[in-house]
């Protein structure tokens, strides 16, 4: 069984968790922590930044340095980089080996058409106003782009800020076969227990959000779910590897 963290961070920028905190996530430190937590491979992407082209090049560079340990994902801002995303993302995937894209903002047709053509998954955590859950943002993109696989981080609600955000995430996964959830940064584990009870295991992806959060806690979170061995292996790495292999076919 290969343990693959599908959501970790590397490089300089502003943390996804807080619009005011600058971070410099050291990939060596991340790898050290991940190994200590029993993780074999880590998918990394940049924190928020003004220049995703440079940030994605850095991610590709880290992947080159740690070929067996790290899988790189791109990040793009559909609004700020409008008109340039197809060219940039195609190069990042085909020449630099990045294997997914995180959308910093609501995905546009430009980003989704490109992701569909490249057969890569789209990671999207909607930035929302109070009272809005992930459903508000996901119904249209998930139904309009059934050929794109979407990964909704944090079971739909970082730090379980609202409980109903998790419930909406469960509903989205049930309704749309192209929506997946990752397990990082969940505050209230009972919603992850609901997820493993109610959703097929192949739609749940192990993630830690390291080094923002401690990867040991991320691993323990899944262990506490007491999944049968086959489902455990799928969640811990099998699912993300299969998803990414789909992009390389």
């Amino acid at each position: 069984m290969s343990v693959v963290d599908c959501h970790a961070l590397a490089g300089k920028g502003v943390t996804w968790a807080d619009p005011e905190r600058e971070v410099d996530y050291d990939p060596s430190q991340l790898l050290e922590q991940s190994i200590q937590a029993g993780i074999d491979r880590v998918c990394i992407l940049s924190p928020r930044t003004a220049d995703y082209q440079a940030a994605n090049r850095y991610i590709a560079h880290v992947c080159e340095q740690h070929r067996d340990k790290v899988i790189g994902f791109a990040v793009h801002s559909p609004e700020r980089e409008a008109g340039r995303i197809r060219q940039m993302l195609t190069e990042e995937v085909k020449s630099m080996g990045l294997q997914a894209v995180r959308s910093d903002g609501h995905p546009t047709r430009e980003l989704l058409d490109t992701a569909a053509d490249l057969h890569i998954p789209v990671i999207y955590y909607p930035k929302r106003r109070p009272g809005q859950g992930p459903g508000h943002f996901y119904h249209m993109i998930a139904s309009a782009y059934p050929q794109v696989r979407f990964v909704l981080p944090h079971l739909g609600e970082y730090r379980s800020e609202t409980w109903w955000g998790h419930i909406e995430a469960l509903d989205l996964v049930k309704r749309y076969s192209n929506v997946y959830v990752d397990t990082s940064g969940i505050g209230s584990l009972k919603y992850l227990e609901m997820a493993v009870r109610e959703l097929p295991a192949e739609r749940i992806l192990f993630a830690t959000f390291a080094p923002e959060l401690d990867p040991r806690v991320g691993v323990e979170t899944i262990r506490l779910m007491k999944l049968p061995p086959r489902e455990y292996a799928e969640v811990m790495g099998g699912n993300i590897l299969e998803m990414l292999q789909g992009g390389q076919s």
Binding site: R21, R159, S188, L213, R216, E220, T221, L224
Partner: protein
Amino acid sequence: MNPSVCSSRREFLWQSGLMATALAGRHAQGANSVPVIDCHAHVGHAPALEDPWTTFADPEEILRRNQEANIDQSVIFPISNDTFEKANQEIADVCRRYPGHFIGYAKHDPNKEKGRIRAMLLHECHDLGLRGLKLHEQPGPEILDVVAELGIPIIYHPHRVAMFDEIARNYPTVDFMLAHLGSDLSADWREHLAGIEMARRYPNVYLDTGAVVMTRYIEQAIHELGAEKVIFGSDEPEVDCRLEIFKIRMLKLSKQQEELILGGNLQRLLSKYRGRKI
């Protein structure tokens, strides 16, 4: 232990004795020389039915997870109610129903229950056996005077950590636990830093580790303040005590440090009770 309802005070005392003997036996066998106590859990009913914390918190759910995580006891107090007389009675009832497993605290709203709190809290400690107070709103002298008199700790989740300053300074004999290390689910990491500073400034301020997502701040608190100022908590049943205790155990602290955080510190605070015992 069979969690059956005790039909009489005599039966309650007998079952408590059995539980105490069982715990003592376990500690003597070296499982833990100090009982492991979760300082922050919610139990009982509320009328609003809007969120999990205004509906119902099930003590049996907590007991199941405590057993798995090797937690001996939980401090329990009500979920969100408008006023707390009935909810505190329910806490006392649950403590009696599961003897030895729970330590009951009262909860009060300093504004909505103004003028009645002294009498209620004396009754809740003297007659119902509650041994602490949970607050979400800033307490005034009405509460703090009677708390000082009783020698019970307060676990307080303030809107801002800075609100601790005045009460901790003016009531040095009252022990305050800052819930969630200052920020529930690490919503604002700056509040964790403010919490560490507050506990450094005042000898009577302690930090509860419950529902801290950014675990590096727990580690930082222990490193900067020492294990004596940090107290394990979970915020059950919304937050899973098995993961919360893992966040302490993964730090690989010395046995002495771990014992202080997981139960020793709280035991020390609870031993200061000066009120009448049942």
